[in-house]
């Protein structure tokens, strides 16, 4: 197991507010990792930094065998390098069919000329991915009419279709029914067998089900790391989650 993603000493502030403060973190391949933390801990900013949406003020983010510096790459380059991101709100192209959504995501050349001129039939591959996420019957439905859970799965399907090495998943279980949660858990655990999956979540129950290593973020810093039981026993984590006495009335 070698480190696929190596975040070291990264700081990012917005108008003086430090969203990420000297954060260091590494993720191996394959690995399932959960990042938890209260609101404002910097979870989403962390994802923005890794996927290139925002640039760090200082620090490096290295990725893969070649230790490429992600901070110098565009969002699209990072995505093509094998990092997939799932948003908190299901973000699929509602005006297009499930098949079209998945076809767009399939690993294939992405430069405009190639996309315009070379048009092999990839529907079989897309159908296979759809089956993985249980949408094989809805291939020709518009994504906009899917249920909330189905949209989440479609998005996970799109992620899988990208064949990424590192998957960043933001609160996958939000707004799902229990049955849907279980299915989602299974999908993530399955995916993590061959690749690195980072799940950002603040639902402890869901994290417990993932049975994986956990990193606790607080005020942009890594507070604790280890198994869920281990970090839950950490007094600093308890402080953060339950609040210190003097902060209790605030």
């Amino acid at each position: 197991m070698s480190a696929l993603l190596e975040v070291s000493g990264v700081t990012k502030s917005f108008d003086g507010f430090k969203a990420i403060d000297n954060l260091s973190l590494s993720v191996n391949e394959p690995e399932l990792r959960a990042i938890i933390g209260p609101n404002g801990a910097g979870k989403t900013t962390f994802m923005d930094l890794v996927t290139g949406k925002t640039r760090p003020d200082s620090g490096t983010i290295r990725y893969g065998e070649l230790s490429r510096d992600l901070t110098a790459m565009s969002e699209a380059q990072i995505a093509r390098a094998g990092i997939g991101r799932k948003f908190q709100k299901p973000t699929v192209f509602e005006d297009q069919t499930v098949l079209e959504n998945l076809t767009m995501a399939l690993a294939a050349p992405r430069n405009p000329l190639n996309v315009l001129l070379r048009r092999p039939d990839r529907s079989a591959r897309a159908a296979a991915v759809a089956e993985e996420v249980g949408l094989e019957k809805d291939l020709n439905k518009r994504a906009g009419i899917l249920s909330h859970g189905q949209k989440q799965w479609l998005e996970i399907g799109m992620l899988l279709a990208q064949e990424p090495r590192l998957l960043l998943v933001d609160e996958p279980a939000a707004g799902m029914t229990t049955a849907e949660r279980e299915r989602t858990t299974a999908m993530l655990v399955e995916a993590a067998k061959t690749r690195a999956v980072v799940v950002i979540e603040h639902d402890m129950e869901f994290v417990r089900r993932l049975k994986c290593r956990v990193t606790v973020l607080h005020e942009g810093r890594s507070l604790a790391e280890g198994s869920l039981d281990h970090v839950c026993a950490d007094p600093r984590v308890i402080d953060v989650y339950l609040g210190r006495p003097e902060e209790a009335d605030a």
Binding site: A76, V115, L116, S123, R142
Partner: protein
């Protein structure tokens, strides 16, 4: 394009030849040209009417281009008509040069000595640029004598300008209303520049006499107008096919993805800027082609044609026709521009209200503006929406018809 693995072929993956709108468009264009040709042969329609139809087809072509860039990719360009004008200028330069050359050569041939190239150039310079007080031939006209080069310029110059502008704008992630206004400002800059006498393009006189095609002086306008009608119809048909093909498949998916959620497309690994640039540039070239076909039929091109308002009318046509569907753009451009000719040409009868007479030459723009506002407010699908009613398509939930967010507020609400 095999679809055997699927039970139902989705709209976008159906072969072009099987798509209703493509078939209807081809048949419609064929019927129009054949009928008009026959009627013209019988002398039942005037030359100016044939020209009006030919010009309308060119406007439809420009609208088609705008629909690709706005309706499908979500870039509201307020400058595509400028590319149309540039195409007109490029072809107009050849038309004017070649015709002047023929006239000058004929008159110089009267003299005892055979004319020298120098004399001919000098005479052309005086003929063309005398109106702006010079006989110097500007560098812009270096290749004006070559039809192939000027034809190439009609397409390549808009492409180059759009390419540079788009590269600058897209790489700095200018989008939404910002981009729209920038395109408008660029258009304004271009038209102001053309208005100058020392722009080398005859200032506000523009280029004129373009309806006279060099080498075809013996062919009557009634025949030339039919040729141009056919050329315009063929160009529109081919472009429609090309556009339909472009917006089908994964390329079309990516374009519509960029329109609906640019950031998400980026995270899928597509270089959004490259796609935008490709579409922006490609449609600019298409507009250049349309302009090159339009202005020989119109006969004159001047800077007023390029003024920002012209591009806004182009947007109005596409909006009224229904953006995001290719036939919508074509229908919108045809209906609105023909209606505009009818109303402003005095074809529409005045309405007597007793205390006030509504003269349509005065009130047409008010009506157009009002319909535009109403379409934007209540019928964002435009005339194309009528097709949905006809095909009993179930009304979808509110469709995404473009990036609702400008870049200003967009970022915060997109994930």
């Amino acid at each position: 394009m095999s679809v055997e693995s699927l039970d139902i072929a989705p709209r976008a993956r159906r072969p072009l030849a099987a798509r209703t709108d493509v078939i209807a468009m081809m048949l419609g264009l064929a019927t129009l040209t054949v009928c008009v040709t026959l009627l013209a042969q019988m002398g039942l329609v005037s030359v100016s009417f044939v020209k009006l139809l030919g010009k309308t087809l060119c406007l439809c072509l420009a609208a088609l281009a705008l629909d690709l860039v706005w309706g499908f990719t979500g870039i509201l360009s307020l400058g595509h008509f400028a590319f149309f004008g540039i195409g007109g200028y490029a072809i107009g330069m050849w038309l004017m040069w070649d015709r002047t050359e023929a006239i000058v050569a004929a008159s110089l041939a009267q003299s005892t000595l055979p004319p020298t190239p120098f004399e001919i150039r000098e005479a052309i310079g005086t003929q063309i640029f005398g109106v702006v007080g010079t006989s110097e031939i500007p560098w812009l006209w270096a290749y004006a004598g070559s039809l192939p080069l000027q034809l190439a310029f009609a397409v390549l110059v808009p492409g180059l300008i759009a390419g540079i502008f788009g590269w600058l704008a897209f790489r700095s992630r200018v989008a939404g209303v910002y981009l729209s206004i920038l395109t408008q400002a660029g258009t304004l800059a271009l038209s102001l520049w053309l208005f100058q006498n020392d722009s080398g393009l005859r200032g506000n006189n523009g280029l004129s006499g373009l309806q006279n095609i060099p080498g075809l002086t013996d062919v009557p306008q009634s025949v030339i107008s039919i040729w141009f009608l056919w050329a315009s119809a063929i160009a529109l048909a081919l472009s429609y096919l090309g556009a339909s093909w472009t917006v089908s498949g994964r390329f079309g998916s990516v374009l519509r993805g960029i329109r609906d959620n640019e950031a998400r497309v980026r995270f899928l690994g597509y270089e959004v800027e490259h796609y935008k640039l490709a579409v922006f540039t490609g449609t600019a070239m298409l507009c250049g082609l349309a302009g090159a076909l339009y202005y020989p039929q119109a006969g004159i091109v001047n800077p007023a044609e390029i003024a920002p308002i012209a591009s806004i009318y182009l947007v109005v046509w596409v909006a009224i026709g229904g953006r995001g569907r290719l036939y919508g753009a074509v229908i919108g451009a045809a209906v609105v521009s023909l209606a505009s000719s009818w109303f402003t040409g005095g074809g529409a009868p005045d309405i007597e209200l007793g205390f006030y007479t509504i003269k349509w030459t005065d009130w047409w723009l008010v009506l157009l503006g009002l319909s535009f506002v109403l379409v934007t407010l209540y019928a964002p699908k435009g005339l194309g929406g009528l097709v949905d009613i006809y095909t009993h398509k179930r009304a979808r939930r509110r469709e995404d018809l473009g990036p609702d967010q400008g870049s200003l507020r967009g970022e915060e609400e997109q994930p």
